[in-house]
């Protein structure tokens, strides 16, 4: 297979990364810890009460955690996954590695990796936003770009300089 980034079937997956735009690493990890603390399984109302955050604010965090494969949500029940258990026992640095392994082959990151490889030079913000806009629509492209920068920095997959607006892909580390 070649040119996977332009495959029609990938439009939706790149768009899915939008769920990562409104949440932070700390919120995701805090949620996993909270579900674990009540035994690894709870309904949304219970979690909402336990963490003293209303369901409106919790919703996007749950969606993102599910997107990352850290929880499953079924009939309103939230259950942490094996992957979450790995995260819970990991230290700060291992957590970054686990998140890197989850996100590095997501379509949104693969798109950026592909672009970086074919251009062989740092990518300009506008160039990436444009490519994202083709897949997620222009009104979400900025959010997805910011999410790629935030999560990409955390997972040590990308470098971004907000002064020059240049994005570089980091060499994979072990």
């Amino acid at each position: 297979m070649s040119n996977t980034g332009d495959d029609d079937g990938r439009k939706t997956p790149v768009k899915d990364f939008h769920s990562m735009a409104k949440v932070s690493v700390g919120q995701i990890l805090g949620l996993v810890e909270a579900v674990d603390e009540v035994g690894g399984l709870a309904d949304a109302a219970t979690i909402s009460r336990e963490v003293e955050m209303d369901v409106d604010r919790l919703g996007p965090i749950l969606t993102a955690a599910e997107f990352l494969g850290l929880v499953t949500i079924e009939d309103g029940d939230i259950r942490i996954t094996e992957l979450s258990r790995k995260l819970l026992t990991a230290n700060v640095r291992e957590r970054k590695r686990i998140v890197r392994e989850i996100i590095d082959d997501m379509p949104a990151f693969r798109l950026v990796m592909e672009m970086a490889r074919s251009s062989g030079a740092p990518l300009g913000r506008q160039q990436v936003v444009q490519a994202l806009a083709d897949r997620v629509g222009s009104h979400q492209a900025e959010d997805v770009f910011n999410a790629l920068v935030y999560w990409g920095r955390y997972a040590e997959l990308v470098r971004y300089d907000s002064g020059s607006e240049q994005l570089t892909v980091r060499i994979a580390q072990t």
Binding site: I61, V92, R93
Partner: protein
């Protein structure tokens, strides 16, 4: 005998307005030794921030004394670092520059500063954000910068003033756990932690010892050893027993 790391001796603080005395702290007395993680808990306005400012030498007590390693505390003591509720970051500086700031003040040469900053940025999980500006960070990340900046001066004593109270509950809990991870590593500074908070649950979750203050003027109501094993579970009856006990002491 070696002096304690920190001795707070009968500290009393009053502010005076139009000749009228406004008492904020009354006879605070406790000590901190190496490997102590102590939380001071008390209601809002009871004088917790004032107490920390006195302890780090930013403000004199009206009477009483604060000794650090046996000598009166000075505000420029590089063995004491502070983390603030408001993060206190410079918005026009990057993460690395914010962390290096305190090192520059100590006269550490540039290469030494970079290496030190890199080490503590990594320890708090901020590698990847070195050249980010505060506005590009989530709240939890901002407080990690505050923590890295404090740790980078390799202090013996780390003071924290409500470091989690401007974070959402999930981010706060995650950061509490990661701070305990750092604390469990004896190769990293500091040697002791003194944190103030209005959250009883937070104090019981984190501390080996909790000092309970009354409402203003803050007076020591109790000093309790929290002997719960770690990691602590906030859902267990033993945990709740401590929270309830402290609650009943304050109200």
């Amino acid at each position: 005998m070696e002096p304690s790391l920190l001795e707070v001796k009968d500290v009393l603080k009053s502010y005076f307005e139009n000749g009228k005395e406004f008492k904020v702290l009354d006879l605070i007395r406790f000590e901190l030794a190496e490997r102590d993680f102590v939380c001071v808990v008390g209601p809002s306005g009871c004088g917790k921030s004032t107490l920390l400012r006195i302890i780090v030498g930013l403000e004199p007590p009206t009477s009483g004394q604060v000794l650090f390693e046996g000598s009166p505390i000075r505000a420029d003591n590089p063995q004491v670092a502070m983390v603030f509720q408001s993060f206190a970051l410079f918005p026009w500086l990057t993460v690395t520059q914010n962390v290096e700031l305190g090192l520059e003040a100590q006269g550490i040469p540039p290469e030494g500063r970079h290496a030190r900053a890199r080490k503590f940025i990594d320890a708090v999980g901020l590698t990847g954000f070195e050249n980010a500006f505060p506005r590009e960070l989530s709240g939890g990340m901002k407080q990690r910068v505050g923590l890295a900046r404090a740790l980078a001066i390799e202090p013996l004593l780390l003071c924290m003033d409500e470091p989690f109270s401007s974070l959402d509950p999930l981010t706060a809990q995650n950061l509490r756990d990661e701070i305990l991870q750092l604390w469990a590593n004896p190769d990293l500074p500091p040697k002791a932690v003194l944190m103030v908070t209005h959250s009883i649950e937070e104090a019981v979750y984190l501390a080996d010892r909790v000092i309970v203050l009354s409402s203003r003027p803050g007076r020591m109501v109790a000093e309790l050893e929290i002997d719960l094993p770690r990691p602590r579970n906030r859902k267990e009856p033993e945990f709740y027993g401590w929270v309830d006990e402290i609650y009943s002491l304050i109200v």
